[in-house]
Assembly symmetry: C2
Homo-oligomer: 338 residues x 2
């Protein structure tokens, strides 16, 4: 492998100068422009590749971060894949390696984190389902000098910068779109409360009255375990509304599976979509184009969230102040709400 000292030898200059030139860190050093170009050219000609591990050691950096994901949303939604795509893009740009870990409970997180702490990474991104019981662990990790960025629906601690999607906006954007399309009675399958607030705000903004009859909500009192986003919940919710004789000309659900269920049920009953009922789901899952009738959906833009998280972490590692960030949802209109 060709290294800096080979370039220095070839041109009979000092190793230091080569390093400075190649890193654009001349500092107080000055060199003839002609020599600078010669060094650059020789590096290229010899096929020099900087050894980032060595540079990292010198800087006390690993040029790597740990990525801990408790998979977000439904397996079918592709959210995790989008997120990882955003992460890897930004990481590549910044010459950062990753250590990717999937976990599902605090125990698993700790098992995996222990092997990584400090010895391998400069920082941590913890994403997906929020684990408030891990706050103490995360603060400890940060105290050890490893900055942490979270990507959770809720910020775990004021001192842990978080990337979050604007949940209220999700409800608002979807509902506003349905109103613009002419819907006057919009049903809603409620899981996350902020989205419900956005739904109500859009109704008010559109001059429509809020009718609690139109909202189907989970009955159980236990903690939400993710099952509310499933196809079955959508089936139950829409079935319930129909049974109760509630009339509606629009539906905004909190997942695409829920929306797919609504779509299937109504379609089977001969309801024309979008003419009689317009439907908007949530997550912009990869299959939205392939349902019986292509499904409109609000994207949480997890790709953007991943990109942001990496940039925030890098700033933290560089010792900069970092604020939490909020990402705006994007609406994708397909036939179900045209």
């Amino acid at each position: 492998m060709v290294q800096m000292k080979d370039i220095a030898k070839a041109l009979n200059v000092s190793l230091s100068l080569v390093s400075k030139v190649l890193n654009d860190r001349m500092g107080t050093t000055a060199a003839r422009p002609e020599l600078v170009t010669r060094i650059r050219k020789t590096a290229k000609k010899l096929g020099y590749r900087k050894n980032y591990s060595a540079a990292g050691l010198r800087h006390g950096r690993h040029s790597a971060f740990g990525l801990f994901i408790h998979k977000l949303g439904l397996a079918s939604s592709g959210l995790t894949e989008n997120f990882i795509t955003g992460i890897s893009g930004a990481a590549g740009e910044m010459h950062q390696k990753q250590i990717l870990n999937f976990f599902e409970d605090a125990e698993q997180f700790r098992d995996q984190a222990v092997n990584i702490n400090r010895g391998m990474v400069d920082g941590l991104i913890v994403a997906g389902v929020a684990h408030p019981e891990l706050v103490k662990d995360l603060l400890e990790i940060r105290e050890m000098g490893i900055p942490v960025v979270t990507v959770n629906q809720e910020q775990l601690h004021e001192s842990l910068p978080n990337v979050v999607i604007d949940q209220v906006a999700i409800g608002f954007v979807a509902t506003e779109h349905l109103i613009r399309q002419g819907c006057r009675r919009i049903a809603h399958l409620k899981v996350i409360n902020e989205r419900f607030e956005g739904y109500k705000a859009a109704l008010e903004n559109g001059g429509l009255d809020y009718d609690p009859q139109l909202v189907y909500e989970r009955q159980s009192s236990g903690p939400e375990d993710g099952t509310s986003y499933l196809y079955q919940f959508g089936e139950k919710g829409i079935g319930d509304l129909i049974e109760r004789g509630v009339e509606f000309d629009g539906i905004f659900t909190q997942s695409d599976e829920q929306a797919m269920a609504a779509l299937n049920i109504l379609h089977f009953r001969g309801v024309r979509i979008p003419q009689q009922v317009r439907i908007v789901g949530c997550d912009n899952s990869p299959y939205c184009g392939f349902t019986v009738i292509p499904l409109s959906s609000v994207s949480q833009d997890y790709r953007e969230q991943g990109d942001l998280a990496v940039r925030m972490l890098m700033d933290l590692i560089d010792g900069k102040k970092v604020e939490s960030a909020t990402v705006r949802p994007k609406l994708f209109v397909r036939k179900s709400s045209e």
Copy 2:
């Protein structure tokens, strides 16, 4: 940060001894068992974390590999996510960092690979859609001392070990299952030829005649571009068979979207599934449990493929001989073929 020399100082022993003990590399060195335990205990007490970057530099390793993925299959299939899960699990076990890159053509691969070569990684895993036009690049990379493992449907070069799913077995397993369930006339939507061969082999094995009428095939002469796996292809294929008056009591498709299309069409026409027609898809996509009728499917076990690829790459980096490996598909039976 506590490091080896701190442990050495604390116990008044040599740095070398600490390193040897902590790495279980005593070699010709012998030490009192009692001292060995004391060193271990002190390391733990002080919270020592080995700096893997420094160790790597010494060994001429980066403890990292590049992962290049041209996303496999349909976005909705979750194959990529499964694959990454397998990769990250094995990598974590082996203290390996990753540099994850998504690419879609040779140009993109080259752009990203150039930044990574040798300066950041010890090896490469290239997965997903096969790119024969990159063989030269991959061989060059390997000549530079960076081992390469591919995860492609076809082995690109005899000297590049590949992980592959047994495509023939996919067709065989699905068809054999349908035969066992009592199907006698099994329709097939053909894309990959090996799966078709497996289909035929299972028919013969089950004592059924092969009837070309039952097979729907893409008409176009251009290269397969992935669109054959889409919902629309399934719609067209099953529609065509029905139009031609072909009778069947089973269907094996080469994707889950194709199968979902078959399911929807037949269901809408009042065909009872699985009583009248049994259906098996391919990929075991996350939504298989949520179709109108839960869909049986053959999994390509990409998780296992990811795990294997990492282990093979590590062996190559360690200078061992490595052979290509074949993974067997797994059948998941749901209501559509019960």
